[in-house]
Symmetry: D2
Subunit: 301 residues, 4 copies
């Protein structure tokens, strides 16, 4: 089928390619003239599409996505459909849907997982929206998703797609941190000589085998002992939003939150909180111990 695709970056570009390989007619647009775009403007892109038009938006979350959807609301016609495939916060989806609904334009939010492997292996898709709208875009979903029974879910109404994708990423935070803690403990133990090899061995027969483990094994193959990488991790919005959603729903998420906080802490050169601890220890003298007499000294708190 025909589809307009806004945003031809790393993700959007690969998705365009996979869609074309699946026989779809993709009219791509990107703000950058250096991109491999088929239209010089959103308007020009829309003009190349036949009703009912389907436009897949694949630009950064927040203002870029909202602005693009606003413009599409003016360019598209009743019966057309906008899919937000970016990493929008689920709370934005309802507003986007309502704005488009005023012009009788449909909206589907679609969380997309798969990264650089999506082109060849397919993308996992999590959708939110009305049945009718999801149906309209189904040929695209069928091509983008991996071959096989899985990799696509229509999770609920508008917002459910980005919500489930957000939780997916929250789980990912927890899993990554679990492997990371295990790796650190093995490295710290004087008993274990082959940490990287141990992780590699776990790829078969164990309870912890997973795609993330495979990635980690790739990483240590390229950089044994991870001596070249810095212990510094950014967080994307999804981890934070997952914790916010947990708080809104009074759901305890100790593991996912701990994983998020570990990333926060990794970006601090020094922990301000630990300055307080150190200052307090100074105050009650606990830390100064050990300097005093040869024997007869006991920690003083």
């Amino acid at each position: 089928m025909q589809v307009g695709l806004v945003g031809l970056g790393k993700m959007g570009g690969n998705m365009a390619q996979r869609l074309r390989q699946g026989g779809h007619d993709v009219i791509g647009y990107d703000r950058s003239p250096d991109s491999d775009r088929q239209a010089d403007s959103l308007k020009a892109m829309v003009e190349q599409l036949q009703a009912p038009r389907v436009v897949w938006v694949m630009v950064p979350a927040g203002a870029p996505t909202s602005e693009t959807i606003d413009q599409l609301g003016e360019l598209l016609e009743p019966g057309d459909l906008v899919i937000d495939g970016g990493n929008s916060k689920y709370t934005d989806d309802q507003a986007h849907a309502e704005k488009l609904a005023k012009s009788q334009i449909g909206f589907v939010d679609c969380g997309v997982s798969g990264g650089v492997w999506g082109l060849t292996e397919g993308y996992a898709l999590m959708c939110g929206g009305d049945d009718k709208n999801v149906e309209l875009a189904m040929p695209l979903f069928q091509t983008l998703k991996p071959e096989g029974d899985f990799g696509f879910v229509h999770a609920g109404p508008v917002g459910a797609g980005h919500f489930t994708k957000m939780v997916h990423n929250g789980i990912e935070y927890g899993m990554m941190q679990a492997y990371a803690e295990g790796y650190e403990l093995l490295q710290a133990s004087p008993l274990v000589e082959n940490v990287d090899e141990t992780f590699a061995s776990w790829q078969q027969g164990t309870v912890v085998r997973s795609w993330l483990l495979d990635l980690l094994v790739n990483a240590v193959k390229q950089d044994p002992g991870l001596s070249l990488v810095r212990g510094y991790a950014q967080d994307s919005g999804e981890g934070r939003w997952t914790v916010e959603a947990a708080i809104d729903n009074a759901v305890p998420l100790p593991v996912i939150t701990a994983a998020l906080y570990a990333r926060f802490a990794s970006r601090q050169e020094e922990s301000p909180a630990m300055k307080v601890i150190a200052a307090l220890r100074n105050q009650f003298g606990g830390h100064a111990v050990g300097k005093a007499g040869e024997t007869g000294d006991v920690p003083v708190s």
Copy 2:
């Protein structure tokens, strides 16, 4: 090759079967006369083995394992080898090795993962011990492990096998809790209609795909929404030992520890700590708010 196998329970029995399928001659012994044993006593089992004898111990950790190893120390001869394939605490291994070394009997500790799938898919094995001893048992390891490049590691000296298996289980705790938290949050959200289907869809194309996810999908297929299972989880020793090892090595394990504590809490009918919180809130009156006047009321802490 020939091997004595002590312990013919669920794990030991399956391992005996896989070893025999691999062409090994397994002389099994179990304390229970109802078991499918080939010897009526440890002594009888040892007598059926030709030197250098290899005896694989597959009995519960703690006293049963220590007592079995003690007895083997008296029954075996210099040059023989004992493999502890149970879930012993890594700190026990050194003592077992030393005891056997007095009689010039070798020792290898071997953490085994695989559960009920091990019989057909193979067991992941993590060994600790001298090269010579590991070499001696290698034909057994080759048969027990899964086909392919992975599933076996010689992680270090005595103790390293159980240590790595323990950390493996610690990681498993963290991963399971990550999925569990995500499941709970999806269930709690009014937006998401198809929680089980969402998890199933994640089996392809996502970052969180794993064997544990496959198991969880199996579980919700058998019991949609997990309405039949109780929210009550035991912990095996490994989770606790992992945290103890972390403390010994001053390694922070927030995620693995949180996963362990969640299991502790699940077994409490009521949290004693929360009684303290409730009592404190009573004291400063914070909780009684809401009972008072129509307007004009503010939480009082």
Copy 3:
């Protein structure tokens, strides 16, 4: 000085009394005719005040506070001042201030701590706003605060008062949970016979002595072993907001968040997350162990 006080519930009523004892002329208003109000309506209250009028709003956070401030915006005149002494979320303050500023009415947000003890011991006050506005209300603050050097801070511009009060409550969550965990561990230990007496003894000479400890000792005096209270704790908004603010500022708050999550968990009859753990353990058979043979059985993960 003269002050209008909106909201004569448990907190507002006590504050009116303390203000009058300090010589101030309090015109109280409450929606409830049964209250001890001096005016039948907000309008009547405002009419009894002389310019520049100061109105202290002490009603529940959220809609009640916003509606009251909206009405005051219409009733008051340029140069008048509104103080929000309730538990508003700090993010609401800026909007309230801007709305009032359109009519040249000043705004100060004032977090109030002290509960039922405030009447006699004084209230701790944390203010946000312009110097000029804080100055105008200073005679009220001086009366409400405890005698002595402390108990009042002008923490910053509008919002800083409720923000610091919120963090105060976040710290309180962490402290309460610290005591609660210690109490639970002492109760669980077979070594300790006198848990309540131990906590009482800590009131002097220790590092952990505090007002909260005094309250806890009161509580166990009334209910030894806390056998009468349920292990069930509500949370007020401040704990949640503190974690949200942490996420906004990428500040790791492991202790305060854990304290909040412990309260969430205490209100669940059963943990949905733990159902996932239990279901997974069923899948790989780990839990069924122990049922099988007499010896020879090892946990199977």
Copy 4:
């Protein structure tokens, strides 16, 4: 009464002074000749005491304490009493008591809190042992403890003293971390201008007032904004032992454990676990985003 005091370091020296001020006859011994000792050897000290002898041991936990107690076991006589006032692990106490019991020498373990303030304000004491032995030393306890009703508890049999002192310190970890997190969040917020002043104001009227808060206010008075202290905190044994005891008793201690882990992390120049996270993010390309096209780029996990 007469007492032998072994260990005249910072703690022991002050305690000797407070005991003498209370009218007791203290025969002090310390390994160091530079100390203010009244005996040149343990033996000489014991010889100066009249039966039934009471010897208070105040030396570092572990080997120094065990060796001292061993020697006292040989020097003392039936009916004498040894008090271990150091920070011994509670699990050591039973062994010490049994060793001394063979010579019919009594044993009391006594956790001591108070630090440098103990000399003037008194020490909080937590004892474990038989009633008879605790009675014998009661005149010493009465002098060492603060004036007033509190500061002393006989918590249970041998071991209960050090166990309760350990839990006391665990609670202290949690409380300190709660303040530390609040301080960090206030510093991070653009809204709050007077963080130090805010903490000072909390000393009266608030729920979080405590001795630790007073210490923190002292600290920021000496070093505003804590700009001079490093965010690096040691941990004493008690925090680790508290978590170990929690694991032994299946008691969840999320707050106390998080406080301990925060200290572990503060001593790492770089988090090895975070290297794993960063390496994984590299693998699935998530972090490289932002480098690519002008628009059209979405995080790729």
